[in-house]
């Protein structure tokens, strides 16, 4: 034996989180076809909303923020489900549990990797939305990045928890949106309102309130999901 069993302590939380993020991003990179399909699905969703509204540029510009976040939300169901499909295949999640990997590291690693992917998706969709809806962006780039990141993080925290729950049942594809969408209503309202103010301007100074709502939602759900994740992944 190379080490006594008293010395056998798992990796620190930070090292564990880093290892999970690296693993998930590597797996996403290896399955680029699935990632591309998710991005294409988001574009298609955006296009369908625009076709449904018709050629009225005023309505399109007014509703652009809503189309953007609905496209991100609907695509998130695919990417969140996929992140746990990889874990369900060959019972890899059981393997991680038995190594053992701290469930907190598992949750944080997967939720951060999901946030990064959804943030990237939102960043790709913004110029397309702006161009197609004829929006003249009034807000600053820094505010825009912050809102997109907070919105992506708000979807990812409960999304990661519910994707873990849904991955354990047969009707996982149906269950995930049923669980996730009602919970995300405040976050989506906050993200849409804040993005709308960034697009159309913020003469009344309301952006801070919607940003605060997103920060509060994130703080609550990241903490809650972090505490609950261990119970979900253990039998």
């Amino acid at each position: 034996m190379t080490s006594s069993f008293a010395e056998r302590r798992p990796a620190s939380l930070v090292a564990g989180v880093r290892a999970v993020i690296n693993k998930d991003l590597l797996l996403e990179w290896r399955s680029r076809a699935r990632v591309n399909a998710t991005i294409f699905f988001a574009f298609l969703t955006l296009l369908l909303f625009l076709f449904a509204v018709g050629p009225d540029t005023h309505i399109m510009a007014q509703s652009a923020a809503g189309y953007l976040w609905l496209a991100v939300l609907l695509s998130s169901v695919l990417s969140l489900g996929e992140s746990f499909r990889m874990e369900a295949e060959n019972a890899a999640l059981e393997g991680l549990r038995l190594l053992p990997v701290d469930p907190k590291a598992m949750f944080l690693g997967k939720a951060i990797a999901n946030t990064l992917f959804l943030f990237l998706l939102a960043v790709i969709l913004v110029p397309v939305t702006v161009a197609m809806c004829g929006v003249e962006v009034q807000g600053s780039l820094m505010h825009g990045v912050a809102i997109l990141f907070l919105g992506a993080a708000a979807i990812s925290a409960p999304g990661t928890l519910y994707a873990a729950i849904a991955s354990q049942v047969r009707a996982r594809d149906v269950l995930l949106p049923l669980l996730l969408f009602p919970v995300l209503i405040p976050a989506i309202i906050g993200a849409v309102k804040a993005t709308k103010l960034l697009f159309a301007g913020d003469p009344m100074g309301d952006l801070g309130r919607w940003t605060a709502l997103l920060i509060f939602f994130n703080a609550t759900y990241w903490l809650l999901c972090l505490l609950l994740f261990g119970r979900v992944v253990e039998e």
């Binding site: 080490s3 302590r9 990796a11 290892a19 797996l27 060959n90 019972a91 549990r97 190594l99 990997v101």
Partner: protein, 242 residues
């Protein structure tokens, strides 16, 4: 002879496990002495896999108490899990990662593992030429070899093997036998389920037989060659517990 609890690696006290309405394990009570090799036999659906996953702390018992290394399963899992390895039908591998990347993951999560041994281990299990290939292209036998390699890398104190010879070609079977003997020389406790009772008997010194989730032969030392095969056949032929 009753051994003191400290020399028992596994202790089950009146343990039952229920899936929905079906009882997979019913009131199991037995102990496994340290450094012993236990052959776990039983027909399909006898509860062998459920028992092994319970010993690995992956499943919780519905009733009763499971102690591994004198620690309570479900409570002290963080203390138990670093000391055991489970090799089962599910490979616990990521199909989109290579053999090397799958083993490297272990090193990222378990800092005590000496990753310099990885090359030798891949060589040992015959996967060195395919070290950079994605596991998705591996046959079932190759996956089993990689799982055995991961077990060697972790150097556990308790090894749980579920049908270790399944899906292997003759050289693969010989390799697994060799690895099991190597592990036994390191004074590791082994629990192995197999339908190949003769082969398992040659490797083990104790026998545990399950039928319909009940223990028909508790962990008892094996005597003359062929004893486990004969007893398993007799117990299966006997009526009841269906």
């Amino acid at each position: 002879m009753t051994l003191p609890s400290s020399s028992m690696v596994v202790q089950l006290n009146n343990v039952s496990k229920r899936y929905g309405r079906r009882w997979a394990l019913v009131q199991l009570t037995f102990a496994i002495p340290e450094k012993s090799s236990v052959l776990l036999t039983g027909g399909n659906g006898a509860g062998k896999t459920t028992l092994l996953r319970m010993l690995a702390t992956s499943l919780k018992s519905t009733r009763g108490e499971v102690r591994i290394f004198d620690k309570l399963s479900g409570v002290d899992n963080d203390l138990i899990r670093p000391r055991l390895a489970l090799v089962t039908h599910d490979s616990h591998l990521y199909d989109d990662l290579s053999a090397e990347e799958n083993l490297s993951l272990v090193g990222h999560f378990l800092p005590w593992v000496d990753m310099r041994r990885m090359g030798d281990i891949l060589e040992r299990v015959g996967l060195a030429p395919r070290r950079a290939s994605a596991v998705r292209g591996f046959s079932a036998g190759m996956r089993r070899r990689l799982c055995m390699g991961r077990m060697l890398l972790v150097e556990p104190e308790l090894v749980l093997l579920d049908e270790p010879f399944g899906q292997l070609d003759p050289p693969g079977v010989a390799l697994v036998e060799e690895i099991i003997r190597e592990v036994q020389q390191k004074q590791v406790t082994l629990v192995m389920s197999t339908h190949d009772v003769e082969r398992g008997e040659a490797l083990c010194d104790h026998h545990l037989h399950l039928k319909s989730g009940r223990v028909l032969r508790a962990v008892e030392p094996l005597g003359e060659p062929g004893e486990a095969t004969r007893i398993a056949q007799e117990l299966e032929a006997r009526g009841g517990w269906h």
